[in-house]
C-alpha cells in the first residue's frame, strides 16, 4: 500500500429500507466518504454470519449492516433475526481478535438518506481511528513465519512402527 491508508468497509443493505435510503441520499446529492462498498440483499435477515467473516478475511476493516427499523421489516421480522445473530457475532469477533467495534448494525428507513450519510461518515471516522485490520496481511505473515521457521525445527525422528498387538 503506497497510498495513505483508508479503511475498507463492506456494507450489506436491505433492499427495502437502507438500500432505498442510500438511493435517496444519492438523489438528494448528500456527500459522504467513499470507503463503503455496498452489497444489496433483499433483507438484513439474509446476512449470513459467514458473509461478515468472509469480508473480514478478505481484507475489510469494517462491516456495516443496514436494515429496516424494528417493526418495519418488509418481511415482518428478518431484522430481528439479524439482531440475534449480531449479538452473537459481536462476541465471536471479540474472541477472534477482530473486535466487536468493527461490526455495526444500523436501522435506516427508506426516508433516512441523511442517516446513511452520517452513519457512513461516523463509521469511517471510527474505523480510521482503530487502524487497519488487514487479516489477509496477517495471515500471510503467519504463513511466512511458519515457512521460515520450518527448516530450523529439527524434524522428529521417525520411529519405526510399533505394534501393540
Amino acid at each position: 500500500m503506497t497510498k495513505e491508508w483508508t479503511p475498507r468497509i463492506v456494507a450489506f443493505f436491505c433492499n427495502w429500507c437502507t438500500y432505498t435510503a442510500a438511493d435517496l441520499a444519492g438523489v438528494s446529492r448528500m456527500k459522504y466518504a467513499a470507503n463503503t462498498r455496498t452489497i444489496r440483499l433483499m433483507c438484513s435477515g439474509r446476512v449470513d454470519p459467514q458473509f461478515i467473516l468472509e469480508a473480514f478475511a478478505r481484507g475489510a476493516d469494517g462491516v456495516l449492516i443496514g436494515g429496516c427499523h424494528p417493526n418495519d421489516c418488509h418481511y415482518g421480522e428478518g431484522n430481528y433475526k439479524m439482531l440475534r445473530r449480531f449479538a452473537l457475532l459481536q462476541r465471536m469477533l471479540q474472541d477472534l481478535g477482530i473486535g466487536e467495534e468493527r461490526l455495526r448494525l444500523e436501522w435506516i428507513s427508506a426516508a433516512e438518506g441523511e442517516k446513511v450519510k452520517s452513519v457512513i461518515n461516523d463509521m469511517v471516522k471510527k474505523i480510521t481511528a482503530l487502524g487497519p485490520l488487514d487479516l489477509p496481511g496477517k495471515c500471510a505473515d503467519w504463513d511466512r513465519e511458519l515457512t521460515e521457521l520450518a527448516p530450523a525445527v529439527e524434524p522428529a525422528p521417525v520411529e519405526s512402527e510399533v505394534t501393540h498387538a
Binding site: G26, M30, K31, Y32, L41, R46, F51, E77
Partner: protein, 670 residues
C-alpha cells in the same frame, strides 16, 4: 486464482453508462470500461452516454448476438430504477433476463462523492464484484400469479370516493372502508372550495350518493381494517365493523328515532360540527351522510352505561321506528374477511393541534377559532345556519386570520401544508361576505400556485382584505390603550414595514396546517408501507411512481401521502385507480424469482429453518425428513438461507456463491 477464472463458458458484456454528466462528471467512465475489459471472462466492455435509451438497449441486444455474450453487466443508476429496463433488453437479445446484474454507480457513487479518483476506485470495485457475481447467475423463470379482480379502498374522503367510483365505473368490484359513520371526510365539512367558490356539499354529495347506490361498491362505514395478509394480487383483509346498533339494511334514514329520543334537546359533542353544535345519542352525522343511516352512541345513550347494554331506557326510539325494527341494541362488533388483489390507501390527514401553540390563545380566549370551525360557522347547514355569531354571542367587526399555524415552523411542523394560504383567503372572502368585517391576513408568504389561485389572491386584494407579512408572535387580551379594551390583540412584526404592530380584532382564525393522522404509523405497518420523516406515507418514487408504495399492489391517494388540495387529491385518486386497473386488467403479476429452495441431498432435517420463516412456507417432509419450501408462499427474504447450518437452502438471485463472489469482488482493491 478464483474459480471464476477457470470458467471458460462465461462471456460477459460490460456497459458503463455516462448518464450524460451525472456519472461521467465524477467517475472516469473510459478508464472504468478499460479496467473491466481486462477482467477474466469479460469479452466486451463499452462506455456509452445513455444506456437506458433505445440505442443503448439496442446496443446490448446487438452485442449479445454479434459477440455471443451470455452475461450482461450494466453500471449505471440504481437497480430499483432501471433493472427491469435492462432485463427486458437482455431478454430481447435472446438471453434469459436473469443473466444480468446491475451496478449502482450513480446514486451510490457519482452523486455522493466529491473526489473523482476515489469515486472511480469505488466504481471499479463495485464493477469487479458484479463481474464475478454474474458468472454464477442461473437462468430463472418468472412466476406468474393471478390477480384477484376486487379492490379495497381504505378511507372515504374525496380521494377514496373518487378512486372507488372510478374503479366501480370500470366494472371492478370495490370495497370502500371508512372509519367514521359517514363517508365524505374533511371535504364534507367545508363550506365553499377555493378558488371557484363552488359549494363543497354541492359537488361532493352527488358523488357520495353515487357511492352509496353503486352496485359495484360495497360500502362499509364505521369500520376499520385490522389485518392484511397475503401478497400482491392476493390479499386477505380483515375488517372490523363497529356496531352502530342500527340494522343498516332496515334503516331508511327517516330520523324519527332522533326526534323521539328521551333527550328532548341535543346535548352531546358533535364531531362533525367541530363541537360547535350538539347532537343526541342517536344521530346522523350530517344531513347528506352516506350511508343514510343513523347510529347510536353507546357512551351517552341511556340504554347503555359506559358502553355496556343495561336496557334501562324506555326506548321511545324503538317505538318510533315501529315495524321497520331497524334498532338493534344487541348488535355486536363483526369481523369481515375479504379477498382483494389491490388496495388503495386514502386515509387522509388530521389538522394541527393548536394546543401545541398556546401563544395563540386557543381555548383560553373564546373568540379564537380554528379554520375548520369557521368552515362550519359560515356553512348554511352548520350549527348557526351560516350566521357568524361568536362564542361570546357577538358578531365580529374585525377578524384576524393567522396563516401557517403548525406549518413552516421548526418548532412544530417544518413542511408547508399547501392549502392554508388558499383556504385562509377563501375564509376571508366568506367572512367578509357574511359579516362585512375588516379582515387581516397575517402571512409569511402567499403561496398560490394553482390554476386560478393567483387571480383569487388579486380578487381578495381588490375586495379590501388586508395582508400583513409576518409571523404572529402572540394573541393577547392585555389592552394598552382604550381602543384595545375587550378585544383580542394580535402582536406581529410587520416585516414589510419593519415595525412591531398591535392589531385589535374581535375574532381570530388559526389557519391550521395538515399533518399525518395520529395512527398513521399503525396504518403504515398494517399495509407494510413506509413513512417519510414527517410521517406521511412514502411513495415509491417521488416523481415517477407517486401513487405506488414499496408494497406492490398497495397504492396511495390524497393527503395521507402529503398535504394537497382537492384537485390534486382527485387527480391522485384517479391515478391510483388506474394503477390498480393495470394489474387487474393484465390479470396476473410477474413475481421476482428470488424465492428459496432446499437442496434435498444436503438437508439434514434439523428443522432450524422452519420457525424462522415468517410466511410458514417451510415444512418438514415427514417421509424423507427433509425441509421443503412452498414456493408459492416464499417471499424471498432469505432469512432461512442465512440460518441453514448445512448450507442446503439456496436463494435464487442471492445465492451464497453469488454473494461471496460479490464480497470478494468489492475487496479486491487495486
Amino acid at each position: 486464482m478464483d474459480k471464476v477464472n477457470g470458467n471458460h463458458d462465461v462471456r460477459i458484456g460490460f456497459y458503463v453508462c455516462q448518464c450524460g454528466h451525472n456519472i461521467a462528471a465524477m467517475v472516469d467512465c473510459a478508464e472504468l470500461a478499460k479496467y473491466v475489459g481486462q477482467l477474466p471472462n469479460v469479452v466486451l466492455s463499452r462506455d456509452y452516454k445513455y444506456m437506458c435509451s433505445d440505442p443503448g438497449q439496442e446496443l446490448i441486444q446487438k452485442d449479445i448476438k454479434e459477440f455471443g455474450l451470455n452475461r450482461i453487466v450494466v453500471a449505471s443508476c440504481s437497480p430499483l430504477l432501471h433493472e427491469h429496463t435492462f432485463r427486458s433488453a437482455v431478454e430481447a437479445g435472446g438471453l434469459n433476463p436473469f443473466f444480468f446484474h446491475m451496478v449502482n454507480i450513480r446514486e451510490h457513487v457519482s452523486w455522493v462523492h466529491t473526489d473523482r479518483a476515489e469515486a472511480t476506485a469505488k466504481a471499479r470495485a463495485l464493477a469487479r464484484a458484479a463481474i464475478r457475481r454474474v458468472a454464477h447467475h442461473r437462468a430463472l423463470e418468472v412466476k406468474k400469479v393471478p390477480v384477484h379482480p376486487d379492490v379495497l379502498v381504505v378511507g372515504g374522503g374525496i380521494a377514496g370516493i373518487h378512486a372507488a367510483l372510478t374503479l366501480a365505473k370500470a366494472g371492478k368490484k370495490v370495497y370502500l372502508v371508512e372509519r367514521e359513520p359517514s363517508i365524505g371526510g374533511h371535504m364534507a365539512k367545508f363550506d365553499k372550495t377555493f378558488p371557484t367558490l363552488d359549494c363543497a356539499a354541492c359537488i361532493l354529495t352527488p358523488k357520495m350518493s353515487e357511492v352509496g347506490s353503486h352496485p359495484n361498491i360495497t360500502l362499509w362505514s364505521h369500520s376499520e381494517v385490522v389485518k392484511m395478509d397475503g401478497y400482491v394480487g392476493n390479499y386477505t383483509v380483515k375488517i372490523k365493523r363497529k356496531p352502530r346498533y342500527i340494522n343498516e339494511d332496515l334503516c331508511t334514514g327517516c330520523q324519527e328515532c332522533i326526534s323521539h329520543c328521551v333527550y328532548k334537546e341535543p346535548k352531546f359533542h358533535d364531531d362533525f360540527n367541530e363541537g360547535l353544535g350538539k347532537r343526541k345519542p342517536v344521530y346522523i352525522p350530517f344531513p347528506q351522510a352516506t350511508p343514510q343511516v343513523v347510529l347510536i352512541d353507546p357512551e351517552v345513550c341511556l340504554n347503555f352505561k359506559r358502553g355496556v347494554l343495561t336496557d334501562k331506557c324506555k326506548k321511545p326510539c324503538v317505538e318510533a321506528c315501529g315495524d321497520r325494527k331497524a334498532i338493534d341494541f344487541k348488535q355486536k362488533e363483526e369481523l369481515k374477511e375479504i379477498k382483494v388483489g389491490t388496495i388503495i390507501v386514502a386515509t387522509g390527514f388530521q389538522t394541527f393541534d393548536v394546543g401545541r401553540m398556546p401563544q395563540y390563545g386557543y381555548g383560553r380566549y373564546p373568540n379564537v377559532y380554528t379554520a375548520l370551525e369557521v368552515e362550519r360557522l359560515v356553512n348554511a347547514s352548520g350549527p348557526t345556519a351560516g350566521d357568524v355569531i361568536l362564542r361570546d354571542g357577538c358578531h365580529p367587526k374585525s377578524i384576524g386570520i393567522i396563516h401557517c399555524v403548525g406549518s413552516r415552523d421548526k418548532n412544530t411542523n417544518r413542511w408547508c401544508s399547501r392549502v392554508c394560504c388558499m383556504y385562509s383567503m377563501k375564509l376571508a372572502h366568506l367572512l367578509k361576505e357574511h359579516t362585512e368585517a375588516e379582515i387581516y391576513n397575517f402571512y409569511i408568504d402567499i403561496r398560490a400556485p394553482g390554476k386560478g389561485y393567483e387571480e383569487f389572491y388579486d380578487k381578495l386584494l381588490e375586495e379590501g382584505v388586508h395582508f400583513i407579512r409576518g409571523r404572529v408572535g402572540e394573541v393577547t387580551d392585555w389592552a394598552f390603550i382604550p381602543e384595545e379594551e375587550g378585544k383580542l390583540v394580535i402582536r406581529v412584526e410587520d416585516t414589510l414595514a419593519g415595525v412591531v404592530r398591535r392589531i385589535p380584532v374581535d375574532m381570530v382564525v388559526l389557519a391550521t396546517g395538515l399533518e399525518p393522522q395520529a395512527d398513521a404509523q399503525d396504518v403504515r405497518r398494517l399495509f407494510n408501507m413506509s413513512c417519510g420523516s414527517e410521517g406521511f406515507f412514502l411513495e415509491r418514487h417521488p416523481k415517477l411512481a407517486p401513487v405506488n408504495t414499496f408494497t406492490d399492489g398497495v397504492y396511495l391517494a390524497g393527503c395521507c401521502q402529503s398535504p394537497k388540495d382537492i384537485p390534486d387529491s382527485v387527480a391522485q385518486a384517479g391515478a391510483a385507480a388506474a394503477e390498480a386497473m393495470v394489474l387487474i386488467d393484465k390479470g396476473h403479476i410477474e413475481q421476482e424469482p428470488n424465492t428459496a429452495f432446499v437442496v434435498e441431498a444436503e438437508c439434514s432435517g434439523c428443522k432450524s429453518c422452519i420457525p424462522l420463516c415468517p410466511y410458514t412456507a417451510i415444512t418438514l417432509n415427514e417421509g424423507s425428513k427433509k425441509a421443503v419450501i412452498n414456493e408459492a408462499l416464499c417471499k424471498g427474504c432469505g432469512t432461512c438461507v442465512a440460518a441453514c447450518p448445512s448450507g442446503s437452502i439456496v436463494q435464487n438471485l442471492f445465492d451464497d456463491e453469488e454473494v461471496f463472489s460479490e464480497i470478494q469482488g468489492v475487496l479486491a482493491y487495486d
